[in-house]
């Protein structure tokens, strides 16, 4: 299935939780924030929020800035 990940089309094998997606991408879930279909998720919701075909996911972290 196809999702939109950080603005780009992204192929995943099938529906999976945000937590699974992060671990597949080798992203440390403690250092990022995730928005799922324009809703910013609490970290506790990573395990229960399922990503489905066509969903929009944004994964952000902190970078240098002023």
């Amino acid at each position: 299935m196809k999702i939109v990940l950080n603005g780009d089309p992204f192929e995943v094998a099938g529906p999976r939780t945000i937590a699974t997606l992060l671990s597949e991408l080798e992203i440390d879930s403690r250092r990022v924030a995730v928005e799922h279909n324009l809703v910013v998720l609490k970290r506790a919701a990573f395990d229960t929020t399922e990503v489905r075909d066509g969903d929009q996911v944004e994964i952000v972290n902190f970078v240098g800035g002023g």
């Binding site: 950080n6 990022v32 910013v40 998720l41 970290r43 994964i59 972290n61 902190f62 800035g65 002023g66």
Partner: protein, 257 residues
């Protein structure tokens, strides 16, 4: 001891520094240390999905020593800034935000209308909002009325190093403000920071002035001292300005008169 208090939280330093544009992470770490700051700003950006090799900024910031202040830099509307603030809150687990809503690419001047809208919304959502704003006393008052925890007028355009362009406006904002006043942006060198503090600012926020200096670590120390010196001078109460001289030595008892 002199402290900076914002929204019930106490900071030992009145200097707030950025984390961008350093020549290397190790220079940033040393500069942060030399600055004496205990609050640093960070930006919120998409994780690079295709290249996971990049190190994380947080590998270089000891969050037990530095309070993270996420910004909404690069946002051009209230909606974008609100979205970014919400993401920053989840990434950093604090409800503080340095709110930026930019209105013009070349000057990076704020869009005050959108800024006030975003402030109002985020305050309702429980955020501690520190808005980056113009050096306009009326806008600062409106931000205060919208619930901002501090007002952060610019001294000059971001990254310009021009110093405080409108000294009198900062003085007037000081006079009006009932929340902490942080001069944010435009500082080029130590005397600019000292001047901001002498005008009565509660703090100064800067990034480029330190990160872009030839020796960022030395400049960080210079800024630490300047902020302290300026604050001390402000608290000490300067003498009034006069057009003519007043002798410092006795006028009587001169030899040969």
């Amino acid at each position: 001891m002199d402290h900076l208090n914002i929204a019930g939280k106490t900071f030992a330093s009145r200097l707030i520094v950025g984390t961008g544009k350093y020549s290397s992470p190790s220079v940033m770490v040393k500069a942060h240390e030399a600055s004496g700051a205990d609050m640093v700003t960070v930006a919120v950006r998409r994780v690079n999905i295709s290249d996971r090799t990049k190190e994380s900024l947080l590998d270089y910031i000891d969050t037990s020593k530095f309070f993270l202040l996420p910004n909404t830099a690069g946002c051009y509307s209230a909606d974008e800034a609100i979205r970014t603030a919400r993401l920053g809150r989840e990434a950093g687990l604090s409800n503080w935000v340095k709110l930026e809503v930019i209105g013009d690419e070349r000057t990076l001047f704020p869009d005050n209308e959108e800024l006030i809208v975003a402030t109002r919304t985020l305050v309702k959502e429980g955020f501690v909002v520190l808005p980056y704003t113009n050096d306009d006393p009326v806008v600062c008052r409106k931000l205060e009325d919208a619930g901002a925890a501090a007002v952060m007028p610019l001294g000059a355009p971001i990254g310009s190093g021009l110093g405080i362009q409108n000294v009198n406006n900062i003085r007037i904002i000081r006079e009006f403000a009932r929340v902490p006043l942080i001069v944010d942006a435009g500082v080029g060198t130590a005397s600019d920071a000292a001047l901001a503090m002498e005008l009565g600012a509660d703090g100064v926020l800067m990034n480029t002035a330190i990160a872009g200096a030839r020796d960022a670590v030395a400049m960080a120390e210079a800024m630490k001292l300047a902020v302290r010196a300026g604050r001390l001078a402000y608290s000490a109460g300067r003498i009034p300005r006069k057009a003519y001289a007043t002798a410092s030595s006795p006028v009587e008892g001169l030899v040969g008169r």
